[in-house]
Amino acid sequence: MNAEPAHSAAPSHGFLRRRVFTTEHRALAVLYLLIGLAAVIVGTLLSLVIRIHRVWPTVPFPLYGILRPEDYLAVVTMHGTLMVFFVLTVVPQSAFPNLVLAEQIGTRRMAFPRLNATAFWITLASFLALLAAFFVPQGAPISGWTSYPPFSAIAATGPGQGAGMDCWLASIALFCIAAVASSANFLATIVARRGPGMTFGRLPLTVWSWLTSSALTVIAFSALFGAALMLFADRHFGTSFFIPAGEVINGIARSGGASGSPMLWLHLFWFFGHPEVYISILPGMGLASALLANFTRRPVLGYRFMVIATLMIGFLGLGVWGHHMFVSGMNPYAGTAFGLTTIAIAVPSSAEVLTWLAMLFRGRLRLSTPMLFTLGFISFFISGGLTGPILAQPALDAYLHNTFFVVAHFHLVMAMAGVFSLFAGIYYWYPLLTGRLMNEMLGKAHFWISLIGAYGTFFPMHLAGLAGEPRHYAQLAGPVESFPSLIPVERGITFAALTLAAAQLIFLFNVFRSARHGDRAGENPWRATTHEWSPDLHPITRGEPYVYGPYPGGTKDFLPQWELAAPATSAQPYPSGAKPE
């Protein structure tokens, strides 16, 4: 650590000043990553509690004892909320853009560094508010990450629905504010802080993804904020936006209150919820394109097409929320309409997948760890994505809704694909933070064990779901005959999940060890073309983002954006490619 005395002539750069109370985006990225790490550790431990409880419901947990059904629900709720908001949103949509967005567009500062830093502190407050739910009287909320009313609107409905639910709401409201603030900064940065020569047509695909996901964030999280406000009013100011009339709780009819509509919450929540899943996966999709180009040493196929597909996904993603509500009592015609829009959004998504596959078969694949994780991402995106159109049929969903089939769908397509792309990004960008590479052998072990563990965990859930096993149930018991036969499947899932979690210890070890003992990375270890690897502080953009493989006048197999194509033209003060036509 830099042990510079505080009284030296240079402006004081204490550790706290440089790394914590700073507006420097890369330091903020590290802080966001630390939140993500804390959240993923807690979230994973909770998921192991879920898995263990499902197969050994009577075994007491150390320090806690036997899990009651309401505890199980609290664990599920906190697991979902932590993972969706503080891992799969914070890391791809806050940490990664802070890490490389500004550099990738050829600048070194965000448009609004202080706004950006403020967003981080609000996110931290939101994280702490959520964790506080564990410690308030009666513990964490039990209404799931979707918090459907009237369960979530009335404190008397169960333990955790009082103070715990208030913590949840406070956390979500803060998170919304932070997300919108940081996205406003990203949008302004992308549109109005691009470096010289960085036209829209030369933006890396990751930046296009962040442009789209930031726009989605502004829209979706503002909607969630409004909904959370109304829920809060229902809980504390005696309104009934979401509470139906004549609600009976524990045998006691709720006095007063007008007839509100729980459906309204479903609409509002999923109007946020579906864009949210794309917010968390779009950065991974952009990263996949970039890494495929790099590790196959071939340009991205159809750059323009990929940009359009990304924007289309963002736009169409705003109009499909009803596919989460087919069996909620919504008008069946509306269900059909939402089924159709959902199939429509599968088109640009599949187009991107097919492009990736085509890129794979064209190039010479180099299987470094970031590439392996990208392949894992694509694999999960396909295997999880294929069940999407099945669930999007209202008739099929009538059976599959709220079963483990849905759990399998979104854990493959969102959780595993999302997390694998996070790993790809971390292995790939690690040298930016430490100057060193992560250990390849450990990385590969991490990848293969995780891959097998992840499929072993989530694939069998399709079978459980098809057999009718419902989600959010603490225990399989009762007269239903098919459930006991699922116990072996459940047990297999739990062992796979334990393996998956154990594999992450390899990753943690690798992250901390390589920071000191990893191989030195040098200037541009992946021989990449985008500006985060540029040796120049203020690079001028001279060409397209992904020029790999042979190119006219080239001597290497890649042409970074900061270099000129042909030596002959370098005499010109201003590169011809950088000028508008």
Binding site: M1, N2, E24, R26, V30, L34, R108, R109, A111, F112, L115, V180, S183, A184, N185, L187, A188, A192, R193, G195, P196, G197, T199, F200, V218, I219, F221, S222, A223, F225, G226, A227, L229, M230, A233, F237, G238, T239, S240, F241, P244, A245, A258, S259, G260, S261, M263, L264, H267, F271, L432, L433, T434, G435, A515, L537, I540, A578, K579, P580
Partner: protein, 252 residues
């Protein structure tokens, strides 16, 4: 975390607050920062005051887009709620949507708010008059600020008046026994007017801040930005109010 380092010295100097460039002025009726910028060839002017203004406007615009969705969400309750009712013991559908008679003072408030949007627009444009701005930029005095200040003050007063008017409207309603929790329509009424009033309160703070800013900030373009962004926020709130008002008056 072990010590991390960046390969490059972190850039601390602020190169981009635009001492070199002239502040944007009003050549077109839109007010500074219109759309003639060619993003491709910006290298020389990158980081100029005009870019700074555009950047701030973009951020405000993003925030307002979110705000628009926020109000749209609240309004969605208005459209869903009237159809929600319940089936009573006799299998009759009972709707509990009771229209509220809008307190007449809201008409006056609306007029006041419209007027305040007008005054802040006048104030905003003062800061983009080319001759005055040039004079300020050359350090020959502050004619633009001096002319904008009274209009800004008027806006603050009108904004305060609007909020007071809203307060009176709430008082009148609660005198009739209509509180936030009384019935679905009153939920809605208090919710949207309350959320809007809260935004205006923030707007008033911003106005006061802008007033201080145009006198205290040294750089012409920062003075312009402070007032300009506040003005757009204020206009948006006026626009939202008009929508909400039409809803409250016509669609009960």
């Amino acid at each position: 975390m072990p010590a991390t380092f960046t390969r490059h010295q972190v850039e601390t100097e602020k190169r981009d607050t635009g001492y070199g460039g002239k502040p944007p002025v009003d050549r077109r009726p839109t007010g500074g920062g219109g759309g003639d910028d060619n993003w491709d060839s910006r290298s020389s002017r990158h980081g100029g005051p005009r870019e700074l203004l555009i950047r701030y406007r973009l951020a405000v615009l993003s925030g307002l887009a979110g705000d628009f969705v926020f109000f749209a969400v609240l309004v969605s309750a208005f459209f869903v709620r009237p159809t929600a009712g319940h089936i009573d013991a006799g299998a009759n559908f009972v709707s509990d949507w009771h229209p509220i008679a809008i307190p007449p003072i809201l008409w006056i408030n609306t007029a006041i708010l419209l007027l305040s949007s007008l005054t802040i627009e006048v104030a905003r444009r003062q800061l983009f008059h080319e001759i005055d701005v040039m004079e300020e930029w050359l350090g020959l005095g502050r004619p633009a600020v001096k002319r904008a200040a009274p209009w800004l003050l008027a806006t603050i007063l009108l904004g305060g008046l609007f909020l007071a008017g809203q307060w009176i409207a709430w008082q009148q309603l609660s005198a009739q026994g209509l509180y936030f929790a009384t019935n679905p329509n009153s939920h809605f009424f208090y919710l949207v007017t309350g959320a809007h009033a809260f935004h205006l309160l923030l707007g008033l703070l911003a106005l006061v801040f802008a007033m201080a800013a145009i006198f205290r900030l040294k750089k012409v373009e920062m003075r312009q930005i402070a007032l300009d962004c506040t003005a757009w926020f204020w206009h948006a709130m006026t626009l939202f109010w008009i929508f909400l008002f039409i809803l409250l008056v016509c669609y009960q």
